[in-house]
């Protein structure tokens, strides 16, 4: 790749000085080594140090740099900048309060994650060695434990937009099923009780935006379906 100039349209808002948010048109010349959207944003920051966004690992495992990219949620570090239609329109993740520019307040998102008791519960005395699990049992956790809590899914979900305080959302429900599916966990009934509610689980209308946007290729809708199956199996 050579040097090239890229056009952006970026949501800007600094509550310290702006009365209201606005969209800023800005362009930046990229170096040949700049491949990802995050590289371009770092280049932009060298030009305008007030451009604010979160970032850390730059390889898609920490979940910091989720944003709305040309209308679709994704991670800046895993998005090829040259494949994006210009001007590249960047907005903060939808549905969460904006703190500044592309930085959103994720309190509600984490509150829902915490609400499903995201930790293993096993009340037996701890054995001296590892608790055994067959490779097949362990495989049940694949596609669940890899979640990076970036919030791309929950903030792409209309049910979460409407009821962020009541609907757990795809990320939280994926985590809930991660523990339900773990043969070492003993809290199945309490976990299902915790979700047996018109909103917490059942607001999922299988729109599947979550599956569409997950940068790790995970499938929260399938996990939600499996929780519903467990609810049914328990009732009969």
């Amino acid at each position: 790749m050579t040097k090239r100039t890229v056009q952006f349209k970026i949501y800007r808002y600094d509550p310290d000085k702006d009365e209201k948010p606005y969209m800023q048109d800005i362009s930046v010349e990229l170096e040949p080594s700049d491949k990802k959207l995050l590289d371009a944003l770092v280049r932009l920051r060298a030009k305008d140090d007030s451009m604010s966004f979160r970032r850390s690992c730059r390889e898609g495992v920490c979940g910091s740099d989720a944003m709305n990219i040309n209308g679709r949620n994704g991670l800046a570090c895993l998005t090829d900048v040259d494949t994006l239609e210009q001007p590249i329109t960047l907005r903060p993740l939808p549905g969460l309060p904006v703190i500044r520019d592309l930085i959103v307040d994720m309190t509600q998102f984490f509150k829902q994650y915490h609400s499903i008791k995201p930790y293993l519960v096993n009340n037996d005395p701890a054995p001296e060695r590892e608790r055994l699990q067959t490779p097949e049992e362990r495989e049940e956790l694949n596609g669940l434990y890899e979640c990076i809590l970036c919030a791309c899914c929950s903030t792409a979900c209309p049910s979460f937009w409407w009821n962020p305080d009541k609907f757990v959302g795809p990320a939280g429900l994926l985590a809930a099923y991660r523990f339900l599916a773990d043969t070492r966990d003993q809290d199945t009934n309490a976990r299902l009780d915790n979700l047996e509610d018109p909103y917490r689980l059942f607001r999922c209308h299988t729109i599947m935006n979550c599956v569409d946007v997950c940068p790790k290729g995970l499938n929260p809708t399938r996990a939600i379906g499996k929780i519903k199956d467990m609810m049914v199996a328990r009732a009969i």
């Binding site: 850390s56 930790y119 608790r131 990076i148």
Partner: protein, 597 residues
């Protein structure tokens, strides 16, 4: 500026593996604890670790902690302290089993135990053959570990201060540590966290180099804070260059790839590690492999149009194995190298990865400094663990999978020490000095008031380029001497940077300027310590300290078997003895020997 004061039994800075493990110890013992973290805990850099955590569980091949200890001492090129190494290797099984009990989704063997794979420098029977010691969750071990530790802390009701950046260490006239100042990123407000105990678990500073596997946040905040407060930094000349960073991008490709059978090849397709390490070959220690790769490239046998990298080949592995054991690596190769490793080899180069040195500690996690006749005198109220600390278990070169183990063992150990000191009544809440926040407020006022000057981006770039050129895989006397001068100049420039953004709200520019202050301390420590050490040992290899019969591999035990201590004030150097004596009578000291793989 109004500075709020908050009082705790203990404050932990950093919520990666070491901070979270320490926090568990404190929360479960009922101490009122604050965990300050610049990023949400699961975004800490532990998340990026891939290949595994070492423990001699012996699930697939025979193993014991004696062999692990021998490998670690040898890997450290005898610069590691043998008491701390014995402690770590002995505790490994316990902390890994605990993690499994916390819910860590380890891969499994057919009989249901934790899956283990071979890793560089780890051997059975004192160097004879590779051993399966690395406990793994696919190639996402750090991610699985960090989330499991965070989840356990949710259960323990640990109190986190998320997106709070610690600014400076608070010490009183006796030199005792009383806590830290910290800034809430969302509001820009500064608070004093006043505590009986302060634990630093702030990670490394790999961002001093231009080409680094490290995250943006790895800016050595704790190390910089300690150095500014007069604490010496130990063995900072020793930086690990990981053999396999994706060429150009720097993103890490785990050594587990070679553990699963991957092979490094030069432009001729030759498996060149056979020439450098006939026994362990591609699974030799990281410093050895990185130097071999650099030699191949320097001698014209590199790959690609610019002959500037070598190839990591796994095309001979079954696609099933790659999909099951290395799925994350396949994603990374496709994303950042543009190749599917099932079909084509991955272009790789040695890339800055890990800081072996750091804040000097003992195996209990206490920070120790020279005082009177004792070169390891504990600083009251101050503890450190993980990459920011130097226990020293890694010495001159760390073995892969020993970093995640370090986090668990010394995070827990620091936590246990604090709990013991707290319960015995030894820890006191000493009165805060009147000027406790003055240094931090002055730094912030300087940034607010500065209306002209260079950008943080430009000065940071100059620092990274200087480090890359002057203190790389191979080191040269003239380049190091020039490097000391240049990094001193960059340090002066860093004092006059200007940020245009003056907002109080989530000001990334301010955060990066404050981070640069920390990076600069680390960069100076590295360059000055490296220039002074006139031998080759582990990751520090000098052109003018070659392999001779008197000094095999250029290692000069008669003069340089000692730890460096660098003081920020005046770039002063001091040295202290390496502890060659194990902690207990369970094991004989590992005698000095020439290192070959």
């Amino acid at each position: 500026m109004n500075v709020a004061k908050r009082t705790f039994d203990a404050v932990i800075v950093g919520a990666g593996g070491a901070g979270l493990r320490a926090a568990l110890q404190l929360s479960e013992a009922g101490l009122k604890t604050a965990v300050l973290t610049k990023v949400f805990p699961t975004r800490s850099h532990t998340v990026a670790a891939q290949g595994g955590v070492a423990a001699s569980l012996g699930n697939s091949t025979e193993d014991n902690w004696h062999w692990h200890m021998y490998d670690t001492v040898k890997g450290s090129d005898w610069l590691g302290d043998q008491d701390a190494i014995e402690f770590m290797c002995k505790k490994a099984n316990e902390v890994v089993i605990e993690l499994e009990h916390y819910g860590m989704p380890f891969d499994r063997t057919d009989n249901g135990k934790i899956y283990q794979r071979p890793f560089g420098g780890h051997s059975m029977n004192y160097g004879q053959a590779p051993v399966m010691r690395s406990c793994a969750a696919a190639d996402r071990t750090g991610h699985a570990m960090l989330h499991a530790l965070y989840q356990r802390n949710v259960r323990a009701n640990t109190q986190f201060f998320v997106e709070w950046m610690a600014l400076d260490l608070i010490r009183d006239a006796d030199g005792d540590v009383l806590g830290v100042t910290a800034m809430e990123l969302e509001t820009g407000e500064v608070s004093i966290f006043h505590a009986k105990a302060t634990i630093f678990a702030t990670g490394g500073a790999g961002r001093i180099y231009h080409s680094s596997t490290n995250a943006f946040i790895n800016t050595g905040d704790g190390v910089g804070m300690a150095a500014r407060a007069g604490i010496p930094l130990e063995d900072m000349e020793f930086w690990q260059f990981h053999p396999t960073g994706v060429a150009g991008a720097g993103v890490l490709i785990t050594e587990g790839v070679r553990g699963e059978g991957g092979i490094l090849r030069n432009a001729g397709g030759e498996r060149f590690m056979e020439r450098y390490a006939p026994n362990l070959k591609d699974l030799a220690s990281r410093d050895v492999v990185s130097r071999a790769m650099t030699t191949e490239i320097n001698e014209g046998r590199g790959c690609g149009p610019d002959k500037d990298h070598v190839l990591l080949d796994i095309t001979h592995l079954a696609p099933d194995t790659i999909m099951k054991r290395l799925p994350g690596i396949r994603e990374i190769a496709i994303q950042f190298a543009g190749v599917d490793p099932i079909k084509a080899p991955i272009p790789v180069v040695p890339t800055c990865h890990y800081q072996m040195g750091g804040i000097p500690t003992n195996y209990k996690g206490q920070v120790v400094v020279p005082k009177d006749d004792n070169s390891n005198s504990p600083v009251a109220g101050f503890y450190a663990a993980g990459e920011c600390a130097c226990a020293s278990v890694h010495g001159a070169n760390r073995l892969g999978t020993n970093s995640l183990l370090d986090l668990l063992v010394f995070g827990k150990s620091a936590g246990e020490t604090v709990v013991e000191d707290f319960q015995s009544g030894q820890l006191k809440l000493k009165p805060l000095p009147a000027d406790a926040a003055d240094v931090s407020l002055a730094r912030l006022a300087r940034l607010d008031g500065q209306t002209s000057g260079e950008s943080v981006f430009d000065v940071g770039l100059e620092m990274r380029r200087t480090m890359q050129k002057h203190a790389g895989v191979f080191r040269f006397d003239a380049l190091l001497k020039e490097g000391v001068q240049k990094i001193g100049e960059v340090a002066e420039r860093a004092k006059r940077t200007e940020i245009k953004d003056k907002s109080k709200v989530w000001n990334v520019a301010r955060m990066e300027a404050l981070e640069l202050d920390n990076l600069i301390e680390v960069a100076r420590a590295t360059m000055v310590s490296a220039e002074a050490r006139k031998e080759s040992r582990g990751a520090h290899v000098r052109d003018d300290a070659p392999d001779t019969p008197e000094n095999p591999n250029g290692r000069d035990d008669a003069n340089w078997l000692k730890h460096t201590l660098w003081y920020s004030e005046g770039d002063r150097l001091d040295y202290k003895a390496v502890n060659l004596k194990p902690l207990s009578d369970d094991v004989e000291p590992i005698a000095l020997a020439t290192r070959t793989y």
